[in-house]
Amino acid sequence: MTIRIALRNLLHDRVRLAVTLTGVVFAVVLIAVQGGLFVGFTQATTCVIDNTEAEIWVASRGVRNFDVTHPLPPRKFHQILGVPGVGRAERVIVRFANWKKPAGGRESVEVVGFDPGSGLARPWNVPAGAMAALKLPDTVAVDALYLEKLGIAGGKGVGEAVEIGDRRARVVALTSGIRSFTTSPYVFASYENALRYTGMEDGQCTYVLVRPAPGVAVEALRDAIRRNVRDVDVFTREEFAGKTRHYWMFTTGAGMALLIAASLGLVVGGVVVAQTLYATTMDHLAEFGTLRAMGAPGGYIHRIIVIQAVAAALVGYGCGIVVSFFLVDLAARGGASIVLPPVLAVGLFFLTVVMCVTAGLVSIRKVTTIDPAMVFRGA
């Protein structure tokens, strides 16, 4: 019966119900989109790291993130190779460079140079056959998402001749879904080609990626490299990914902005819902007074208000999440990266319920102060 009373109360004033639901939907969509941007952004900052097979990353001392750091001198690579327990080590280049479009105009790109032969740090989502082509001189792979931006959309990308860092380059393979979180798309090339595109000296690199020899523990090897090689920072893959994420999310304020926008959605949505639920309760105050007079326990009336809030949350969340997934889909086609993983969707569900019930508490305060004697005063 409490459920029936609650639902009828909600349905009684359709306009107000619409406002309530709009408030919930607004909050859900805003939080989902901002939260999804946050997750997408977070994932994008470390997508190269996450997709490498190497367990250990070695960088120059003081590295703060994946994208911008000083090069390592050539001898570091050899010192690392000499550390007992190292199974394999490879040089990787990560550096911003200038991309000259065939039709003129320039774009900044982030060159990732790796060894196409072994592939501790190879581009993923690239057809196996195309990897071989990257071993040839002056060849690169770019992501299909960025053909337009890179000015090579006309010829379907593959085969286009461009210049990177004033060196000739030919696109020989396309990756798919490798999204850069900066405005500079990734350009994958062999280590040798990348040296020239980035103007680095022979033997230099940005990172040395290491796999332990069989039977050697990752942490033990990491510590061994730290002891044996000076002036470098050594991380496990997860540590380096965490450091990079933390840098972009919290040092630059980009993540904070997204989180603040998401919490704003929560607050504004919560206030709208609190307002309308309160108004709904006020509309039916006489009935709550009657219930009180009839001897209804406090819990009975609270249940009605909580059910109103939960019902609004359920319907609002349902609509909101559908809209959100629609927007995610739309954004994916537009090149933005909003990621709405199930845990975010589920978490958002509980957040919505909590928001609505909290909003309902404002009304509960009101009904607990009703004087049941009002029933005889023609209220």
């Binding site: 019966m1 009180r292 009839m294 001897g295 005889f376």
Partner: protein, 233 residues
Amino acid sequence: MTAGETLLEAKGVAKTFTLGKVEVPALRGVDVSVRGGEVCLLMGPSGSGKTTLLSILGCILSPSAGSVSVMGRDTAGLPERELAKVRLAHIGFIFQSYNLFPTLRAVENVQVALDLRGVSGTDARDRALAALASVGLADKADVLPRDLSGGQKQRVAIARALVAEPAVILADEPTAALDSETGRAVIALVRELAVTRGSSVVIVTHDPRIADFADRVVRIEDGRIVANGEKTP
């Protein structure tokens, strides 16, 4: 409920409202008791304290002095939570403006009284339908209050007040919004249903014609009982 036993009793009840710095004495020492199966009318001029007394008898207002006992239980000093339990267990209310739930159908309005007491499901619906039938509204079970006449609404309210068979029925001007014929019919119905069950009934009214249905008339003026028993208009 045994007819003849005192079910409701007020002793030395006084009530003073404080409006800012002004003290308004609404009741100045009232003794009244109602037996099972008895219909008692509470009459008096406007502002004499009838509603105040009824609210105190119904345990929805606490007296400034004196005590009220319901079914032999002294309610003085009980916290609101306990008073609510007393109301739920023993008292049925009928209001001048019916106080039905506008969004609930007639039968659902009656069911609420059972739901509050933990009776639900088809059992509650059957009992609610039977209560509606007893007030002559079997065919209006699924009608919303807005589609009922005033007399029909008050009969739904009576069904709601009586469905859980409370020992005490309290009504504040239940006929004020009804034409006199409908009013008489409503009171006759309350009397018939309550008295046969041995409940105590207290009705506040301005309507002298209702006096025919009362066993006793209590007259109250300026917060004091001035007559108790005579059925003079």
